[in-house]
Subunit: 301 residues, 2 copies
Amino acid sequence: MPKKDVRGCVMSRKPIRDREWVIGAIFANRAELAKSGIHTPLQAGISGSGATGAASIVLSGGYEDDEDADDTIVYTGQGGRDQNSGRQTTDQVLIRGNLALARSRDTGVPVRVVRGHTLHSDYAPTEGYRYDGLYRVVDYWAEQGKSGFLVYRYRLRKCYSGGEVESDENESGTAGTTPPERRQSTVQRIVRDTALGREIKKLYRDACQFCGTVITLRAGRYSEAAHVRPLGRPHNGPDSKDNILCVCPNCHVRFDDRSIVVREDMSLIGSKGKLRVHHSHKISRKHLEYHRSLAGIVDHD
Amino acid sequence: MPKKDVRGCVMSRKPIRDREWVIGAIFANRAELAKSGIHTPLQAGISGSGATGAASIVLSGGYEDDEDADDTIVYTGQGGRDQNSGRQTTDQVLIRGNLALARSRDTGVPVRVVRGHTLHSDYAPTEGYRYDGLYRVVDYWAEQGKSGFLVYRYRLRKCYSGGEVESDENESGTAGTTPPERRQSTVQRIVRDTALGREIKKLYRDACQFCGTVITLRAGRYSEAAHVRPLGRPHNGPDSKDNILCVCPNCHVRFDDRSIVVREDMSLIGSKGKLRVHHSHKISRKHLEYHRSLAGIVDHD
């Protein structure tokens, strides 16, 4: 199995590699592919669960509704097909692999993509199964497939170092030619939570630490990880659990604006009550103080 | 005044041009700059208001706290300086130009940036005032300036066609070398509402059409424009008022997930009550039907 160290120089538009696998590696068949660990099921096109999201998918041309434009894939969910004819005979439902891919949209964790030689696409390998790197599920929806039955469709975009541009601007085909006021785009919410962010969200079962709100989506609960001392320059906060809160999008906007701040006793300015803190979650008082200072609130010792 | 048609071929990493002005155009002095319309005040560094946001700024080295790294600028707000000595003698406050720039962060509308020859920066022109294109205010905060007094600081990033990458990944300097699970980034919320989106939000005074919530930030009210039929491929919804709703971030996440859908009689599935609709806002029933179909809800005529 081809392996390679992921440490290397950074170039723009370089596909993001997963931990151990080389993009472009070809495996003779599904058994070899499974042995590599890239995609372990021998038959199913989607590996993963509704709880954790999808780990990997294989594009093998089984569904007539798949679309492949290299960097962007529209992948059809599983189920509803007659085993003998391979034809769609009933509606697909949001369970198993379909739910797993939906969950990946919610969590923002990338999915490994493999293309098989049987795929009807210009980007299919001539033989075997090729690992093509990490893609992010950016949207999913139901539609009437060519068969007339309901199928789930997932839009995936390839991940590049420096961040893929998941922008509607790109897709409208008019970027750069339209003055900003006419640009066809709106708020972009790109979920890319860190492993630590996911741990904190799990600890609170996605309930907002400010207001207690739980957002329920079709594939499960949704919350966001907010960094207290911001990550980017010039703040350079750490991605550590003592610097992360579990919040709903509304409170996230206000916390990042510093129109909600947390006092030393965990009471709130700009919101009711106190910050809800799990007994095992140690939040850094230094980072909360830094956050207050960004709002112009200076502590007097 | 140099002018040029904005229609042209699209390249990646091409700076976004404003309607009429050529990036790189140099003006001999502030009077010439004002005449061009790029930045009309003759003295003030910030043009704009708290209601509309900032239209333009001039970097001229007046504030010792400014930082200039070409694509990224940290700009210091106005006020608190002694007129004779030019030294910071009191705290800055979030009013006038400072409030305008804060508002630009909330609205996401880009700001024209001009660099003057007096700026202490490698990117300053050797003479006159140079128009350097559009930048977006991505963050602002208060800090103790070098003087010891509170100053407001604004982080601006240059806009490129195809969308600037306002990613913490870029800023951490480790993108591509770190497996995705370790990546230092979180939910990115990039506000880029269209002019029509802003009109709809104004109509509802930023109250969510689903739940009535109004989010109040330090520089004003905040809401998001949600497109009913999504803009991007493969949905190709229009950026038109009959396809836009004014929503809070929480309902936006759920509406884009289609866990809130609107029935034909404007009652809601997944949320209480009815969609609040202003008498002058005609929402397309076709687009609402399309949105329902994405959730797998098929209307039977």
